[in-house]
Structure formats: C-alpha cells, structure tokens
C-alpha cells in the first residue's frame, strides 16, 4: 500500500502514524492493512474508574441518595473530569485504534451528558461497545441508557403526559435527519417510549403503569408499538442508512458529500446495518484515497491535541490546564454544547481558536519558540529565549515533553522528508517560500515550524 494512502487512512481512523509503523505497513497490500486495522479493534476495552464509593452513596433508591445528593454531585464532577483525561490518554495510546476513533465519532452522534458519573460512564462505554456493531442494537441500547432517558426526558414521558423530546431527537438527530417525519409521527412514537426509566444504580427500568398501551400509527403502520418496534420501523427506511452514511462520510472522508459515494455506502449499510462492514467498505474504497479527500479536513480540537501528543508525548502536569485548553479550543470531551453536538469543520475555527491553534505546538512543545533563523545562520539566541519564556510563562503550560521519543521515531527520516510525515496536505507556495528562506536548525525546530503552519490543522 502506498505510504501516502496509509498515512491518510491512519489520520482519519486514528490520529496519525509514526515512521516505523508506516515502514512496516507499506510492505503490505491495502486489504491486509485494513484487515489488520479491524482485527486490532475486535476487542472492547471499557474505560472505567472505580465507582464503589459513588455507588454506595447512591444506594438503591432515590430516598437513600437524596441525603447524599451534594456528595454524589461533587464526586461525579470530579470523576467526569478524570474520565475526560483518561479518555484523552486512551486516544493517545489506543490498542483498538479504529474502535476508539469510532467511539469519538458516535459521542458526537448520540450526544448526551449527565451530572451523575455512574450514568455517564455507562453511556460512554455503551458507545465503545457498539461502535463497530449493529446499528439497531446500538440505537436500542442508547434509548435505554439512564443518561439518555434523563437527557432527553424519556423519564418524564408518561402516558398521561407524553414528553416528545426523545422521540423527536431520535428521528431528527439519531436516525433520519430533519424533514423526514411529521409532527404526528413524533407524537405517536413518543407514546411508544412511555415508561422508559432507570433505577438509582442506572439500570433500565420499564414502568408498565405509565406505558401507553394501545394503537399507535407511525409511518403509516398501526399497532401497539413499543420503543423497539418504533426503532425497527425507522430502520426499515433506507433514509436511515443514508443519513448515517452521510454523517460517516462527512466525519471520515470529506465535509462535502459526494452523492455517488454516499449512495454506495448506503447500499452497503442498508443490508444489515452492520457498522463494521460500512467502515470496511469505506476504508477499502478507491475513492477514499482520492486526492480531494486527502488532507482536506480541519482537525477537531481533540484530533489536533491527540495528534500533537502522538508525535511528541506531552504530559500535562496540571490537569486543569488540559481541561482549560479543551475549553479554549471549543471541545470539552463529555461536555457537548447541546444534543446536536459539535458542528465541526470550519466551525471549529474563529479568530481566537485559530490564533491559539497556530501557537499551541510551540507553546506546548518548544517554550513558545518558533525558530526564524535565516538560511545559513545558526540560531544563537534559542536557549536564552526558551529560558525566558519558561521563567515568565511556563506556569501557564506546565507540561513535560518527550522529544527523545520523537528523535528516536524519526531517526531514519531525513530532514527534507519530515514534512511528509507531519503534514497531511501540501504546503502553500508562500509558506513554502518562507520555510525555504529559513535554516533548518534541527529536526525538533523544523518540526515545530511545520506544526505551526495552518497546514498542520488539516488531516
């Protein structure tokens, strides 16, 4: 498989690939590379913290939990922040690379958040468990998650007083997209989801007494439907397979939909709603490796941050700063803006985020320093400048870098080959002309220069 194509594949289904691994894979065929990728993601490794204390505070009923509610909330807040950090670590050092990237994708599809950590963790691992599984089972599992029944008020959905929130978002955001159902469809399907609830520990509970028993007419069909029936009827619509294919395409392939490619994906997916097969179809398609799809997407803040950490291992000494950084860049994991999730693409970028993103590699990795030595000159002031920064601003970015790791990984990569590894797209002519006028002081300094280009924001 072509190196360029392997890099593309790994930038989209992961966060980039390092030279040694790339060398190894370049000797294989595309089919093998892709097969390995999927094989490596067979397992599911949940991301879990110890919740013993929290669970005992919660007890088995609301009456028991009530007195501990402040402690539960406080511990939940702390744990959610821990999970945030653990998730970023997981993304940086994944075993099941594709599954992890898919989990990140689904977290912005089945968008949810909760202030109870036990529910948050359950929900989070549900995403991971079904990330490459069957979409029907996935939707069913999501509809029964405690966090979701809270987030979209299915819990309050009772036969006497239906709450349509979940039914609406199920169709608008999770399966069909806006405009593919009527208000009447929402009203009728909401009835089918009445009675969905959970117990204190977060297990699904079906409250028969508040469930609407009776005929519902949904998408032209009538019957005493329950929630799973509704999901089945939705999935019968090819539009559902198409909607998911579009979303996968925009996330993994290109912001701009190519109708023919999405149609092909839809055909593949509609057969049995197998997510793994859909992804395999994409990764094996020739069009996935078309020029117009390579290096043309804007990295999400998490892709950007994890990409940096993959290249040069970077540990935040002050974990609050990692949180703060996510906030500044506009994407805090486990804290989505609303049920529609992050818009992505160009919406990641505004004046503030672009200024920060361009400066961030040098801030995190190089004491804020970007070498500007002219060709043929040594960088005499490099040391003192870096020291000045460390002394004055170092506390804002209290991180530890492992440039030794980078040096080792890139030992056999020539200086003039570095850009092919660091950047996903070609360098624009003006930037190239400027870089040519500068001295390549060292691999580290050149790497920081490359990472400080707008081109580095692309994947």
């Amino acid at each position: 498989m072509k190196r360029k194509h392997i890099q593309h594949l790994y930038r989209r289904v992961g966060f980039g690939i390092l030279p040694n691994e790339l060398d190894k894979l370049s000797k294989m065929k595309r089919k093998e590379v892709v097969a390995n990728l999927f094989k490596a993601s067979k397992n599911v490794t949940p991301l879990e913290l110890d919740t013993t204390e929290l669970k005992s505070l919660m007890g088995t009923s609301y009456m028991m939990a009530k007195d501990n509610i402040r402690d539960i909330q406080k511990l939940s807040r702390e744990s959610t922040q821990k999970l945030n950090r653990a998730w970023i670590e997981r993304l940086t050092n994944p075993t099941e690379l594709l599954r992890e990237k898919m989990t990140l994708f689904w977290a912005n599809h089945f968008v949810c958040e909760d202030n109870n950590y036990v529910y948050t963790q359950n929900f989070h691992n549900t995403l991971r468990q079904h990330a490459l599984g069957n979409f029907r089972a996935f939707v069913v599992a999501i509809s029964k998650q405690a966090a979701m029944t809270k987030y979209l008020n299915t819990k309050q959905n009772k036969k006497q007083k239906p709450n349509e929130n979940f039914a609406r978002e199920l169709m608008e955001l999770f399966t069909l997209g806006v405009g593919n159902y009527t208000e009447q469809d929402i009203k009728e399907s909401a009835k089918a989801f009445t009675g969905y609830s959970h117990n204190m520990q977060g297990d699904f509970v079906f409250r028969r007494r508040v469930h609407h028993e009776g005929t519902k007419t949904f998408f032209g069909k009538s019957g005493n439907f329950n929630g799973e029936d509704i999901i089945d009827i939705i999935l019968e619509k090819r539009r559902c397979a198409q909607y998911i294919s579009e979303k996968v395409y925009r996330y993994f392939v290109n912001d701009t939909i190519n109708k023919a490619h999405v149609e092909a994906m839809t055909d593949a997916f509609y057969k049995d709603y197998n997510i793994e097969k859909l992804m395999r179809f994409v990764c094996l398609s020739d069009w996935f490796y078309n020029e117009e799809n390579i290096g043309t997407k804007i990295k999400s803040p998490i892709e950007f941050l994890v990409g940096i950490k993959t290249l040069v291992p970077t540990e935040f000494k002050n974990q609050k700063q990692l949180m703060y950084l996510q906030r500044l860049m506009g994407q805090i994991l486990l804290d989505p803006p609303n049920v529609a999730g992050w818009k992505g693409g160009q919406n990641w970028i505004d004046s503030n985020t672009i200024a920060l993103r361009l400066k961030l590699p040098s801030l995190l990795l190089n004491s804020s320093y970007i070498s500007k030595s002219k060709k043929g000159q040594t960088d005499a002031r490099i040391k003192e400048r870096k020291q000045f920064f460390k002394k004055n601003y170092g506390k804002w970015f209290n991180v530890e870098n492992n440039w030794g790791y980078f040096e080792k990984q890139f030992k056999n990569v020539a200086m003039n080959e570095l850009d092919n590894h660091i950047l996903a797209c070609n360098i624009s002519p003006n930037a190239q002309a400027y870089l040519n006028s500068l001295e390549k002081v060292s691999k580290q300094e050149y790497c920081v220069q490359l990472m400080s280009l707008p081109e580095y924001q692309m994947c």
Partner: protein, 396 residues
Amino acid sequence: MDRRKFLKQSSLASSLFFVPSFVKAFENVASSSLGYKRLVIIQLSGGNDGLNTVVPFENDLYYKERPSLSIAKGDVLKLTDEIGLHPSLAPLNRLYDKGLLTIINNVGYPNPNRSHFRSMDIWQTAVDSDEYSQSGWIGRYIDNYGDAPYTAIEINESLSLAMKGETKNAIATQDAKSLFNLSRDPYFKNLQGHKNDTHLSEHNLGYLYKSMIEAHSSAKYIYETSKTVSAKKEYPKNKFGKQLKTTAQFINSHLETKVYYASLNGFDTHVNQLPTQKRLLSQYAEGIETFVQDLKAGGTFDDTLILTFSEFGRRVKQNASVGTDHGTANNLFIIGNQLRKPGLYNKMANLSDLDGNGDLKFEIDFRTIYATVLNKWLEVNDKKILNKSFKQLNFI
C-alpha cells in the same frame, strides 16, 4: 468616517461599485438610518432569583412561600408602593431614579426548560424551546450585518454560543494584549507572503489562512485602538468589574464594535441563597454604576444600551436548604439614557397563578425584546436574524 456612514454616502454613487459583497452590504444598510449605537449584554449565569431582586414587598404570598428567604419590607429599596429592589442594588436604584433603567418583568418563553444549559442555549440562540440551533442571535447578526470579527466582542476567554454565527463568529478576549501576543509572532505574518494568495480560495486550508490573517488584524486593531484609552473611574476589584472596565475601555476608544458581551457567574443558589445573592448583586450593581459613569465621562453613554438577563428565574417557593430551585420567567434590565419607558415596564408576575411546577407564567417573550433591540437600537432587520417575526415593544 465610520463604515456605515461611508456606505450610506457612497451609495449615492453606487454605480462605482461592482463588487458583489458591496451589493449585499447596501441591501442591509439601505433600510436603516445612521448612528453608531452599541449594545452591551450582561449575562447573569446560573439563574438569578428575580423575585428577591425585584421584590413584591406587599405581597403576602411572597412572604408565605419564602418564610426564611424573603427580603423584609423594611430592607427593600422602594421603587413604588409595592415593589422594591434588593438592598444590594442601591447603585441600580440610583440609575432608576435618574430614569436610566427599565425593568421588564416576567420575561420568558413558551414551554420553559429548567436545565441551565438548555435554557441558556434557548436564550442565546433565540429559538423555540423544542428547537436546536447551532448559531446564536448575535452570531446571526454578524452573519448578516458585520464586516469584521470585532463587530461583536465577548469579554471572555472563549465564545458563547450567542456569539457564533452560521458563517462568521465574534471575537473573544479578556484583555486586548494577550490575544495580540498570541497572534503576533512574525512567523505567522511571514507565512502570508506578499503576493496574491491564490490558495486562499481553497476550501478548508484557504479558510484557515483567511482566519489567521483576520485574527491577526483584529487582535492588532483592538489592541492598538484601545490602548490609547484608560478607565476614568475606579472599578470594583473583582472579575466582573474587570470585564466592565475592559468593555468601557473598548467603547471609549471608539472601537468599531456594535455588541459587547460580559457575564457574571454563580447565581445557581440552591443552598443558602441569601449571602451568595447579596454578594453577586452588589458586584453587579456596583460594577454597572461605575461602568455607566465611565461611559458618561467618555461621552459614549448616549449611544450605549445595556441589557441584563439570566437564563431563568427561580421557583417561588423556597426549598429545604434555604435556597431556591430552577424556575422560569424572570426580570430583565435595560439601561441607557434613551429609554422610552424608564421605570417598571410592566406589572410583576401574579404569584397566585403559577404553573404546575409552582413557577411563574411568562408574559413577555424574550425574543420580542431582542427583536426590539435589533430593530430599534441596532437598526437592522430583526426577522432576518430571529428567523421569525416578533412583536416590537416600546421600551426604546
């Protein structure tokens, strides 16, 4: 000459312009008159308890529902025979006495949502409570009527949804210098080159380059324009005071910014509300009074309107922790010296007619206030921004 004036006057010779983007600008300016009006939005985050802010001190129900959380009749700052302000709001009371404050009671929206995040989203995006929008109302104002990112500035480290448009975004800055420092490395300037940048038209990469150039010039513009002016008044020493000080500095330096956004957090008073709200309201009122004085000294108060809101009010009945839970309708403050109806705009909520949760029923949709501010103050087509037609009120 400011850009509006320039466009207006040059529209007389519009045949000189062939550039399509100007055509759009003309369209938008055509219907509106001149003047450089600014809007300052203050967000009280967490849900300020409106009932203890503007107090119905002759209402028995109020005292009955809040046995240990009410403001005693003798403590309120009386505005009328029945209504008074929280004792921490003396500075606001002075603005009221000068006719610079309009209090709009009972502001909310249909089918209220009691989640902070959701309700704040609804206020910031100005859509119905069962709709989701990924752009804010000020963001859409910039989409349609703004030229530069600094058309709207949020005094914060990052942008609120309110300030994000479909195609354009506002700028966020806590102080002009740090943003400038972030973008000023000559390395970035040199990447741009001097030649005509053909790659700027490239889809995503071009967008990044354009954003980089824009960010740099905005940061430089804000920094260099605002550094010539310093505060003329002593602000309270807290975060909110600092935000207002920066805002006044920007306004008094005549930045070409139409909307400023600041916020004061911590109003989520479920537990032991009295001391918390007391502290926050005095931070608010003291800050605002200084701000108004500073703008007056800078000669910019006449053209500035200040709107203060919170995502919801709180439940009428106090809870078991001497606090209040999330509620619905709330009061909203308009400050300026071109008010058509200073004082109390409308009656307070009827405490004997509550909804099923024991919350106030709203009377005025907050979007009628937005529509009025957009139309009568910022002089733009409010329907274009709110995607719907709302009634115009007559407070300005």
